[in-house]
């Protein structure tokens, strides 16, 4: 186990994300919130990472910047050799459209679209997507295809958000608390789906969670605290989600 960030060779093949000195400051009037204070970190091809940390430690901020949803205040994020921090608006849009599968912490479903349509809204613009029905089946929602978000429980809404992320067969999966609203049994179903995508397709995956038990399914566990990476732990072996209980 390492206590400092791992500094792999900067031009290493097989590195998906290379994060260097990443900072993020939110300015709200006079108040400045330093959400990230210099994050250095690499994500390798095929890896499944669990990102742990207390509330407000900057997990979502880091993931958002990696997903092209937000801009950094300083430092660089390189995705497969391309520097996201220098990307144009159009390049970022294409990056989000064709590369990233994102699960939002607050689901962000479109209230006027059914479960199926909330997935197809993404698959319609992807290159080689799954059928929306198949994606929903992976998260156990085959029975709820034509329900509107307001007719679904919080957990069900969250599962649509996950189906939506994996449905486009993304090149990288970024999940912000994908199991936050789920009981352990459903949580396992969802994690299995994510794990399968990672295992079978080799999609590099980052999962944010508050739940340390989930860390066992990861290749590596990144601990964030107060905007900095305080620890990166490598698991000797990944435990299948089915064996996880919380």
């Amino acid at each position: 186990m390492n206590t400092t960030a791992q500094h792999a060779g900067s031009e290493t093949a097989g590195i998906v994300f290379q994060v260097r000195g990443l900072t993020k400051v939110y300015e709200m009037g006079e108040v400045k919130v330093q959400a990230l204070r210099g994050v250095d970190w690499d994500l390798a091809e095929g890896e499944l990472i669990v990102l742990l940390g207390p509330s407000g430690s900057g997990k979502s901020t880091l993931l958002n910047i990696m997903g092209g949803l937000d801009t950094a205040s300083g430092g660089t994020v390189t995705y497969r050799g391309k520097e996201l921090t220098l990307a144009t608006e159009q390049e970022l849009t294409e990056y989000r459209r064709f590369q990233v599968g994102f699960v939002f912490q607050f689901y962000n479903l479109i209230p006027s679209l059914t479960a199926r349509e909330n997935v197809s809204v993404v698959t319609e613009i992807a290159k080689e997507p799954m059928e929306p029905e198949n994606a929903l089946a992976l998260v156990g929602l085959s029975e709820r295809l034509d329900h509107f978000p307001s007719q679904l429980s919080g957990g069900e809404q969250q599962r649509i958000a996950i189906a939506r992320a994996i449905s486009k067969n993304p090149a990288v999966l970024l999940c912000d608390e994908p199991t936050g609203a789920l009981d352990s049994q459903t949580g396992v179903v969802v994690l299995e789906a994510l794990e399968r995508v990672n295992r079978e397709l080799g999609t590099p995956t980052v999962i944010i969670t508050h739940n340390a038990d989930i860390a066992a399914m990861a290749d590596r566990v990144v601990h964030l605290s107060n905007g900095m990476i305080v620890n990166i732990a490598t698991n000797a072996a990944r435990r299948p989600p089915a064996e996880l209980r919380w």
Binding site: S60, E94, R96, I110, S112
Partner: protein, 787 residues
Amino acid sequence: MKSLDKKLFRDLWHMKGQALAIVLVIMSGISTFIMFLSVMDSLMLTRGRFYGEHGFADVFANCKRAPESLKERIAAIPGVALVETRVAAEVKLDIPDFSEPVTGHLVSLPDDRPPLLNTLYLREGRLPEPWRDNEVVVSEAFAEAHRFHPGSSFGAVINGRWKTLTVSGIALSPEFVLAVRPGAISPDFKRYGILWMGRKALGRAYDMEGAFNDLSLTLSPGGDAGEVIRRLDRVLDRYGGFGAYSRKDQMSHRFLSEEFKQLQQFARIFPLIFIGVAAFLLNVVISRTVATQREQIAALKAFGYTTTDVAVHFVKLVLLVVALGTIAGILLGIRLSHGLGNIYMEFYRFPYFLYVLRPGVVGLAAGITGGAAVLGTIHSVWKAVRISPAQAMRPEEPAQYRKTVAERIIPAGILSQPTRIILRNLERRPVKAFLSIAGIAMACAIMVVGEFFGDTVNYMVDIQFRRVHREDMTVTFIDATSGKALHELQGMRGVEYAEPFRTVSVRLRSANRTYRTAIRGIAKESSLYRLLDEDFRVKAMPEAGIVLTDYFSKVLGVRPGENIIVEVLEGGRPVRTVPVAGFIREYLGLMGYMDLDALNRLMREGHAISGASITVDERLQPSIYRTLVEMPRVAGAVVRKDEIRNFYDTQAESMLFFTFVATILAGVIAFGVVYNSARISLAERGRELASLRVLGYTRGEISYILLGELGLLTLLAIPLGFLFGRWLSDYVAVAIESDLFRIPIVIESATYSLAASVVVVSAAVSGLIVRHRLDHLDLVEVLKTRE
């Protein structure tokens, strides 16, 4: 983008009430736009076609009596194409079962050939036989007013001889599209008619065989009307010419032109208000809808939808609403056009109404609304996508509120908590509040303008017919006669008092500006016809000089004390320089006034009068009229009360139509603005209100928070609307003023209260609808889902 389109339709369905309100407002805007512009185009086209097909002349002239041989000389004037000579005369008519004075304008038709100019469009029957002096074709409006058909007959006094005339046919003429008795202010279909008779028969009756007293001609291409008129006047001078004039001074044509000008102004003002309000509403609704969807937009962006994709999505939504409103507006506009067209066709006797709706008009209407809507949408979307998706997806922070000015002024304890919420909300978003107020105020203003016409017409009638004219009857003589005729009138049974007047056709000239009109000579200390100054005080007629309608200061650019040149167009045709003694306030027409003796001195004609104003014993009025018909030197008589009644009769329908349209439209706008504001507030604040309900507030209390705010906005909007309405009325009045009439700005308090009522009622209706929704607010659902 299948799923996005589904979202589009569902979002639209979700806001169907709002969408409907916008559709209605757009519909109103587009329909009035189309109505005014297409009716104007149609009337232009119809007039052009009618004039063209029926050879409407370019120049007209009258004289006492000229030999037919003069025609050759006139035709030889450079610039003249076709010349037609006629015999024309004013005759007194005696219509069975109609005991009021009726005047006919009798015009000759060539016996041996169809007329070259001003040809008739025969609606019914046939032309009169050339040799028959008892057959006439009558104008359609007159025939309709008296239910004449071919075969009907009535009495006429032709050159002093009583005759029975039989209607052979009913016709229309480009010359008399609007038949207005000279000196009258509105057409009177019952009391003024045009009659056509064969030239020989009419010539014989008036001792005009081989002679004419009426002439019309067309100009050859490039012909200069001014030059032709000058030459024509010289030719006709010896024969008692009254001064030639071009189309623009021809009665019927002038009224039409004024009406077109008025329509054009309306077409400029009203639709712009509507389209403006519609665009504003769309803009508000869209920007607020986009704002409520800000997280969805962020999510779409996060999935990789481009800003353009998102913009296109909302533009589609907006265009759908605009398209619905536009189509409905076009259809309604076409219907309204026919309504308005029919009203005009009652006045303006065209043989047909050629309806045209130029694609350009539709395009412009659709373009303005569509353009405003699209721009507004793009602006809102741009605002929404400017922030990074990560930021936009975070729940919005609680808005910043603070204590309001009102709360600081009004002691605590008086304002309830809900009232404080209302005040804080208004103060927090002053722009939004102001825009809502402005929208509602517009509705109020439209009502005021719609009603204003009625008020102003009442006022004009009061001034003109009650304060200026005070006689019961005006009697005119065939020619200027000696003062003896007055004694004759005074001696009649039932005539209480008679006062002479003289009218003289003149051309007034100042520098290079001229105006063809008449001077009325008024007896000293006249009590039946009074001049009113700018403040409506009775003005004494100065001994010398001419008093002019105030609008002359604009038309001729003269000021009191300056001299103008008076070219008399009759009698010895003297040309004199006369000082302007002052101005009087008059809303209808343009006239000059002089002391009767001074006018007679100017004419060098001793004591002559052209008519008299009389007061009569009302019970004897019919018998007085009988006697007048039989008096050879009396050309006609007009009863003041009839004139007023007729004025209202002819104006009422179009006024009602405008008021009706204005009321509906104002209601729609008020409803649209209030309803939309309420619904958007509901969407934005549903959670807050539901939370309050959960905390134990009653339905009434939360309704008060939302609707009380709107009520307050409506109340604030009304006085502003009065102000707007007043400005708009001012603008309209100035825009349509002409030498035919000027519109005084008179707005009755009844108009203001009606405008306020329409706005309040529309607001209340939309409030009730929203209240219904509030009562059915699903607390659980509102709290569970995040918008």
